[in-house]
C-alpha cells in the first residue's frame, strides 16, 4: 500500500465496518421517512385527496363543558346555560365588504359599529382566529344572522355555554366569575389549549380551581367550503372531556343566615363594610363567608359592560374585595388570646396568679390607658380576659417581650396566609424587632410591645386569620388550613378528590393554657361583657375586640372597628356545652368596619347569627347598642 510506503498506517482500514454501519443507518432512516411519506401521501392519500380541491380541511378545538359548583348540601351554585355567540373570522371577511357587514351586524345586535371594528382591529394579527363580537344574543337574532350567512362572509354563529350563578351576590366572593382571557393570561397559559377567545376563571374558586373546572378540550377535523363555512365534521380526533365539579364546604343556608345577620347589623348601625365567617374548628371547613358590600357575579358573564365595571371599581367600599381575606386590620383585643397563651405557656403567670390592674401603665413617659380609664383591681387570667383588661395584658406582653409575643402569634397563624383556596389573601403583620429594623431602621420600643400585646400598633390580621386562631383554641390546638372546597366530583358525580382536614401545624403551646383560655372566653360572656349574649339558651364562648384605626377626632378619640369571635362547645338536648372541652364544631367571627356604636356591633351581629342558625325562640337583639355613639375606650 502506498500508505505503508509513506510510513504511516491507514486509519480507514479499521473503519470499514463503521462506514458500512453509517451507510446502513442512512438507508434505513431515509427508508423509514419514505415509507411514512408513502403512507401519508399514497396509501392514505385518498383520505385527503377525496375531498374536493377547493374544500379546506381544518382542525378546530371542541370546547369542554366547564364543571359545576355545588354547596355542601348539593345545591347547584352555578350552572351552564346555552347561549348564542356571534364571531367573525377576519380572514374570511374581505376588506371591501367590511363596512357593510359591520353595519348590518351592529344593527342586528344593537351595538355600536365602533365596538365591532375595535374588536376586529384588536386582533388584527390573528387572521385565522375567530373574534367574538357578541354573546348571549336572542334566538331570533341568531337565526336571522344564520339565514343571512351568504351576505355576511366571515360571520359565524355558534352555541356556547355560559355560566349562570344561581345565588348571585350571596356567594359572589367565593365563586368569583369567569371572563375573556386576556393576551397576558394567554401568554401565561399558552399552549395548554387555551383559545384566543376563551374564558378563564378570574376570581374566587373559578380562578383557583380553573384547572379542575375547565376539563380538556377536544379536537375535530372539519371541512369548510370556499366561503369558509363549516360543511361537516370529518372526524372527531379527540373527544372533549368535561371539567370536574366542586362541592364547597359552604352551606348556602348558613351563608344566608350569616348574610342576614350582617345586613341587619350593618343597616341598624349604619355600617359600610362588614364580614361574617363561620367555620368548623374540627376540620377547618368554611361553612359561610360573607363580605359586604358584595356584587353580582352574573354581571360578569359574557363580559361586563364598561360602565358597570367602573361603577364597581369606583365604589369607595370596594364591593369586589372579599374583606374576610383580602384586607388586614388591627385585631384589637381578640389578640389577647395570643398574649394570654404566651404568658401561661411561659409560666409568667399561672391560672391563679393575680395581677394588679390600674388606670394606665406608664412607659417611657407615655401613658397606656385601661379602656375604662379606672382599672379593675386585681384580676386573674379568667377575669383579665373576661373584662378584656388592657393593663392586665400590657404587663403580660411586657414580660414576654416582642419576639416571644411574635412566636405565639405565629403559632396561632398570624402573620402568614392561611392558604385558603381563594385568590388575593392578605398576609397580615406581626411585628418583630428584626421586622421593624428592616422596615423603619429602628428597634421596637417598649411601648410598642404593650400595644402589640393588645392587638394594636403594628399588629394586623384578616378576619379569617382571627377566626382560624380561635378555631385552633376551640379544637384544642390544631391550626387547620381553612377549606373552601369539600370535594371534587367527576362528571358522573363520582368523588375525584376528598379534601381531608389539612393541618398547618399543631400549636406548640401548653395545652393547659388553651383550656384555661377557653374557660376565660366563656367568662367574657358570663361577666356580661357582651351584655345579653349569655342569655342565649346555649353555651357560647368568645372574645370581643375594638380596634382603633385612623386619625383622632377633636376630642382625641379614634374611630374603631369592632370584632367578635365565638365558638360553640358541642351540646345535646340534655347536655349543655362545656367550654373547657375542645369539641366545638362551630366558630364564627363578625367584623364591623368603622363601627362607632354604643355597643359592640360585631357582638350583636354574631348574636343574631346564632339566633338564626340555632333557630332559637328568643330575640335578644339590642338595636339600641347599635346606635351611633361613642363607645370609646375599647373592650
Amino acid at each position: 500500500m502506498t500508505d505503508t510506503q509513506l510510513g504511516r498506517t491507514s486509519p480507514r482500514n479499521g473503519l470499514v465496518i463503521r462506514f458500512g454501519v453509517f451507510g446502513l443507518i442512512v438507508v434505513l432512516v431515509v427508508g423509514v421517512l419514505a415509507t411514512r411519506l408513502f403512507y401519508l401521501q399514497v396509501a392514505r392519500g385518498g383520505y385527503y385527496a377525496g375531498l374536493a380541491d377547493d374544500n379546506r380541511i381544518a382542525v378546530r378545538p371542541l370546547r369542554s363543558t366547564r364543571g359545576l359548583i355545588f354547596d355542601r348540601a348539593g345545591r347547584p351554585l352555578v350552572t351552564n346555560i346555552p347561549s348564542y355567540v356571534v364571531a367573525v373570522r377576519p380572514v374570511d371577511l374581505p376588506f371591501e365588504e367590511r363596512p357593510r357587514v359591520v353595519s348590518r351586524l351592529a344593527m342586528l345586535l344593537g351595538i355600536p359599529e365602533r365596538e365591532i371594528i375595535e374588536a376586529l382591529d384588536r386582533n388584527a394579527d390573528l387572521l385565522f382566529e375567530s373574534v367574538r363580537i357578541a354573546a348571549d344574543i336572542p334566538t331570533d337574532i341568531a337565526r336571522i344572522i344564520t339565514e343571512e350567512g351568504r351576505t355576511l362572509p366571515g360571520v359565524e354563529v355558534s352555541v356556547e355555554q355560559r355560566r349562570s350563578y344561581e345565588y348571585g351576590p350571596l356567594v359572589s366572593h367565593l365563586l368569583g366569575y369567569t371572563g375573556s382571557v386576556t393576551r397576558d393570561e394567554l401568554a401565561e397559559l399558552g399552549g395548554v389549549g387555551y383559545l384566543n377567545d376563551d374564558f378563564v376563571g378570574k376570581a374566587g374558586v373559578e380562578l383557583t380551581f380553573e384547572e379542575v373546572l375547565r376539563g380538556t378540550y377536544g379536537l375535530e377535523e372539519i371541512e369548510r367550503d370556499g366561503a369558509g363555512r363549516v360543511l361537516r365534521t370529518v372526524q372527531v380526533v379527540e373527544e372533549p372531556q368535561a371539567g370536574n365539579s366542586l362541592e364547597l364546604a359552604v352551606d348556602t343556608t348558613i351563608q344566608r343566615e350569616a348574610e342576614m345577620a350582617l345586613r341587619w347589623g350593618m343597616e341598624v348601625a349604619g355600617l359600610e363594610r362588614g364580614v361574617v365567617a363561620v367555620m368548623n374548628p374540627q376540620t377547618g371547613e368554611i361553612l359561610a363567608m360573607v363580605s359586604l358590600p358584595t356584587y353580582d357575579n352574573n354581571q360578569f358573564v359574557g363580559g361586563i359592560a364598561a360602565e358597570d365595571f367602573s361603577a364597581l371599581l369606583e365604589d369607595p367600599n370596594r364591593p369586589l374585595v372579599n374583606f374576610a381575606i383580602s384586607e388586614q386590620y388591627p385585631p384589637g383585643s381578640t389578640f389577647k388570646l395570643v398574649t394570654g397563651t404566651g404568658a401561661l405557656s411561659e409560666r409568667i403567670i399561672t391560672p391563679s396568679t393575680k395581677v394588679q390592674t390600674g388606670p394606665y401603665r406608664e412607659i417611657g413617659g407615655y401613658r397606656y390607658w385601661e379602656w375604662n380609664r379606672r382599672g379593675f383591681g386585681q384580676l386573674d387570667i379568667f377575669d383579665g380576659f373576661g373584662h378584656s383588661s388592657n393593663t392586665f395584658f400590657y404587663q403580660l406582653a411586657g414580660s414576654l417581650g416582642m419576639d416571644r409575643l411574635a412566636r405565639y402569634a405565629h403559632e396561632f397563624g398570624f402573620g402568614s396566609r392561611t392558604g385558603i383556596d381563594l385568590p388575593a389573601e392578605a398576609r397580615g403583620i406581626i411585628p418583630t424587632d428584626e421586622w421593624k429594623r428592616g422596615l423603619f431602621d429602628q428597634p421596637i420600643y417598649p411601648g410598642e410591645v404593650l400595644q402589640a400585646g393588645i392587638g394594636q400598633g403594628f399588629d394586623s390580621a384578616t378576619p379569617l386569620q382571627v377566626l382560624n386562631a380561635y378555631a385552633a383554641l376551640a379544637n384544642g390546638g390544631k391550626l387547620y388550613k381553612p377549606q373552601i372546597v369539600r370535594r371534587i366530583l367527576g362528571p358522573s358525580g363520582n368523588v375525584v378528590r376528598d379534601f381531608e382536614p389539612e393541618l398547618i401545624h399543631e400549636l406548640d403551646v401548653d395545652p393547659e393554657a388553651l383550656r384555661t383560655l377557653r374557660v376565660a372566653a366563656r367568662r367574657v360572656l358570663t361577666i356580661r361583657h357582651t351584655y345579653n349574649l349569655v342569655q342565649l339558651p346555649l353555651v357560647v364562648a368568645g372574645k370581643t375586640g375594638t380596634a382603633e384605626f385612623g386619625t383622632r377626632d377633636a376630642e382625641g378619640r379614634l374611630p374603631f372597628h369592632s370584632w367578635f369571635v365565638a365558638f360553640v362547645p358541642k351540646f345535646t338536648a340534655d347536655q349543655e356545652g362545656d367550654p373547657a372541652e375542645p369539641d366545638s364544631e362551630l366558630a364564627v367571627i363578625a367584623f364591623a368596619y368603622d363601627s362607632n356604636t354604643k355597643g359592640n356591633a360585631a357582638t350583636e351581629i354574631v348574636k343574631y347569627f346564632l339566633q338564626l342558625h340555632y333557630d332559637l325562640d328568643v330575640d335578644l337583639r339590642r338595636p339600641d347598642l347599635l346606635e351611633r355613639g361613642n363607645f370609646y375606650g375599647g373592650t
Partner: protein, 383 residues
Amino acid sequence: MGAIRVQRVDKGPWPARQAHALWHTFDIQMALYALALGIVGLLIAWTNSAGAPLAAGSTFTRGLMWFAIAIVVFTVAAAFEYRWLRTFAWLIYVVNIALLLLTLALGTGVGGVSRWVSIMGLQFQFSEVAKILMVAVLAAYLYSRRENIGSLWTIVGAALLVMPPLALVLVQPDLGTSLVFGAVLGGMLFMTGARLRWLLLGMAGILAALPLIWLEVLKDYQRRRLLSFLDPAADPQGSGYQVVQSQIAVGSGGLFGKGLTNGGQSAQGFLPERDTDFAAAVLLEELGFVGGLVVLILFVALLWRVLLIGWQSDHLFGIAFAAGIASLILFQLVVNVGMVLGIMPVTGIPLPFITHGGASLISIALGLGLLQSITMRRAQPSW
C-alpha cells in the same frame, strides 16, 4: 474515479503552478447534488413568496441572494487550504464561543428567545455556523488524538469541547440546535473509531440523565412540545396544531402534488411556519410523493459523496470532518422531515437547503466547501 497516487519526493512547498490542478479532483457529483437541493429550496421560496416572488424583500429574492452568497462561500472554502483549520482550531473554537455569547447578548427572537443577530438589517443565526465550526474543531481534536482514538479520554475530551457551545445554544433557548451538537459529536466519535463500549456507556449515561433534563433543563414550552407530540390533540392550537396541520398538508399532496404555489393548506394559512421549520411540508404538499422521493434520494446521494470524501481522504481529520457533516445533514433531515410527517416531535431544526434562512444555507455551503478542500488536497503531501 481513480485515486491519484503521488510518491512523496521531497517536502518542498507545493508548487503554485499546480494550484489549478487541484480542481481536477474536485468532487463534481457532490457539488451537483448540493446545487440541485439548493434549487429545490429556491422553488419552495418561490412558492412561499405569496404571489410576488420578484418583489424586493420577498422570501424568494432573499433566498436568491443567500444562494449566491452560499456559492461564493462554497468556492472560497474549497480553495482554502483546510489544514489551516488544524493549525487554528483553538482560535476557531474561541471565536465560535464568542459568536454564541454575542448572540445571547444582542440576539432577538420570538417569545423571549435570542437566536438571531441582526447584521446590516439581515437576521443571522450564528448557531448554524457554530455547528460547522464545531465540526472543524472536533475534527482537529480527534486528529490530534489519532494515536489514542480508542481511549476513554478522547471521548471525554471531545464531550468537554462540545459542552460550552452546546450549553450556550441551549440557553438561547434552542433545544434543536443543541441536539444537533450531540448528534454530530456521536457521529464523529463513532466514525473515527471510538470504542463502542464507551460510546454505549455514554449513551446510557445520557439516558439516565433524561429525567433530570426533563425537570431542570427543558423550558415549559419545550416540555409541552414533546408532550404534544405524544398527544397532538392535547394542545390543538399550539404545537399540536402544527403537527396535525402539517400532516394534512402532506397527506393532501398525494402522488404528484398540487403543483408549485397551489398548496391549499399552506397558502390558506392553515400551516404555520411555512417559511421556516415546516417548509418541507409545503414541498411535500406541492411536489407530492414523487417530489419528496426525489429530494430524499438527492440527500442520500449527497451523504454518499460526503462519506466517500471522508473515506478517500484516509486521514483522521478528513474522516472526522466528513462524518460530522454527514451526521449533521442526516440528523437534521430525519428530525425535520420526521416532524413534518408527524413521527418526530416539533423542534426548531431546519432542513438543510430547503428551510429558508441564510445562516443554514451558508453553513452547509461552508461545510461542503471545506470537504471539497479536503478531497482536492488528498494527494498533497501532509504538513
